[in-house]
């Protein structure tokens, strides 16, 4: 306790989200002193996400969370809906897999629970405290400056979220451009539990997820989502900030349009808005990952841009990166070595884990997606709905003529050179994902 009174501890973790909590609890479990600093009035109070946490990675941090944590619903169905102007095509995968499932949660409840658990295991939590800057001595991070005082530590872990002003302060982060983030807006809408179960074809505490392509996000790198909670649904969308800027679009107006779509509006009809929220999603991918460690410092979670947007993964990468940073801190504390070289074991461990392997696999995704978003997020989505419209319409026109017309239009509307470019882009992407 002496050390705390002297404003010096072993590890300071900045940010009480999934990355910060996972890191802090890993360090506390090894018997070390760790202070977790959270700027909100409780963990989760500044956090927003779509809706689901994943069971397997969460169990790595909190093995009994399924029995103890405030979870909403067990996701049993994942729906992929391509929205047209007034039509839609939906593919749905349903499987009640208790081992590798995900759960919808409310961050204000779930993150708070995680923080409480961490506290029980010895993490000291300082809430309502904003770290304004890092203290640097001899090119080494040695502590943090809050609004009130200076705290010193052997290691500082930055888990301060997508905006990480601290990573920026120490020059670990390149400038973030609008194309590197998506702006997400979300509404949590109250609906009776029974109504949710009826409308979404669910039993008891089963839940489902909608991924929504096209619609108001047509032609842009953007995605809508809908998650079912116990007695509410979370509906929202995330769109590349560059697209919003280029097209002068207000994010909440896009969400209004999404909610009015004939395939969506019946699902949320007569619901009462509980809360509106907004947050940025780091979407820069592998190429925009900052320097992850230096003397006395490591970066985890959203602050490190660890999001796999193609698979809607973020909280799991945050938890695992936090855990690996925590393990590195424990090794460093045992050796009393907080040098750049020692803490580089953290990015090395990340490289060996699925976290960096996955992000590397998709390293070209965002480039290709930005180059070809007109086609992949626009034209082809339209054609899917067009095909099913043609296939299901009964209008006494001979089928062969309809098929030929569809193929003719498919090529004519998107000229052959563009189709060729799309094919090359898709091939390059698949090659980089599957081969190298």
């Amino acid at each position: 306790m002496n050390e705390i009174r002297n404003n010096k501890t072993e590890v300071i973790v900045v940010g009480g989200g999934p990355a910060g909590i996972s890191c802090a609890v890993t360090i506390a479990r090894a018997g070390h002193e760790v202070i977790l600093i959270e700027r909100g009035s409780f963990s989760g109070s500044k956090n927003v996400f779509g809706g689901a946490i994943y069971a397997q990675p969460t169990r790595e941090i909190f093995p009994n969370f399924e029995k103890e944590a405030p979870i909403e619903r067990l996701n049993v169905e994942h729906k992929f809906a391509i929205l047209g102007e007034d039509d839609s095509t939906v593919i749905s995968y349903r499987h009640k897999d208790l081992r590798n499932t995900g759960y919808s949660v409310i961050r204000g409840k779930f993150d708070r629970w995680m923080a409480e658990e961490a506290k029980k295991e010895g993490v000291i939590i300082a809430e309502e405290t904003v770290v304004r800057e890092l203290i640097i001595e001899n090119e080494k991070v040695v502590g943090v400056k809050t609004e009130l005082e200076e705290y010193y530590a052997d290691i500082v872990v930055l888990a301060d979220g997508v905006n990480s002003l601290l990573a920026k302060q120490i020059g670990f982060r390149e400038t973030i451009e609008p194309k590197d983030v998506a702006l997400s807006v979300k509404e949590v809408i109250k609906l009776d539990r029974e109504k949710i179960n009826e409308r979404f074809n669910l039993n008891d505490d089963e839940g489902c997820i909608y991924e929504l392509f096209g619609g108001p996000m047509k032609g842009m790198l953007g995605l809508g989502f809908l998650y079912t909670n116990k007695d509410s649904v979370s509906i929202g969308l995330g769109v590349g900030l560059d697209a919003l800027c280029d097209k002068n679009l207000k994010p909440y107006e896009l969400l209004d349009k999404l909610k009015e779509h004939p395939s969506i509006s019946p699902l949320i009809k007569d619901g009462e808005l509980l809360e509106y929220s907004a947050h940025l999603i780091p979407e820069g991918g592998y190429k925009k990952i900052p320097t992850l460690s230096g003397a006395g410092v490591m970066i985890a979670g959203d602050a490190a841009m660890l999001v796999n947007n193609l698979h809607w993964e973020g909280t799991n990468l945050a938890m695992i990166s936090g855990k690996l940073a925590g393990e590195t801190a424990v090794t460093a504390l045992a050796k009393c070595d907080f040098s750049e070289k020692m803490l580089a074991k953290y990015p090395e461990a990340l490289e060996k884990s699925f976290v960096m392997k996955d992000l590397r696999t998709y390293r070209n995704l965002m480039d290709e997606a930005h180059n070809r978003n007109d086609s992949f997020m626009g034209y082809y989505l339209e054609q899917v709905n067009g095909f099913f419209n043609m296939f299901t319409t009964v209008d006494s026109i001979p089928k062969r003529r309809k098929f030929r017309r569809f193929i003719f239009d498919f090529v004519r509307k998107r000229n052959i050179i563009e189709l060729f470019k799309d094919a090359i882009s898709a091939f390059k992407l698949f090659w980089s994902i599957l081969i190298k």
Binding site: K46, N47, V130, Y276
Partner: protein
């Protein structure tokens, strides 16, 4: 439902001073004024008569989009003081 109705559902504890400090002189020369468009809480409004940007920082959802989108790169963007600003109960 208007944006104001939506914002009415959000719990805030307003700070005493703005944590968002645009360089108002640079705002005058900004052509896009993109912050007035993309901000999910309509924090920024351009007053044509006064040639001034108003900052309704009390509505800020602390997302950080304005900081990145600002073409003049002129918004000094900080977090509000501890225990101030937005509290999401259902994030």
């Amino acid at each position: 439902m208007t944006l104001d109705d939506k914002l009415f559902t959000v719990k805030y504890k307003p700070d005493s001073e703005s944590h968002l400090k645009p360089d108002f002189e640079k705002c005058k020369t900004c052509t896009s004024k993109i912050c007035t468009v993309i901000c999910p809480a309509k924090v920024y409004e351009w007053e044509e008569n006064e040639q001034k940007l108003t900052v309704n920082f009390e509505n800020c959802l602390e997302c950080g989009a304005c900081r990145i989108a600002c073409e003049k790169n002129c918004i000094d963007w900080e977090y509000p003081h501890g225990n101030k600003g937005v509290t999401f109960r259902n994030g």
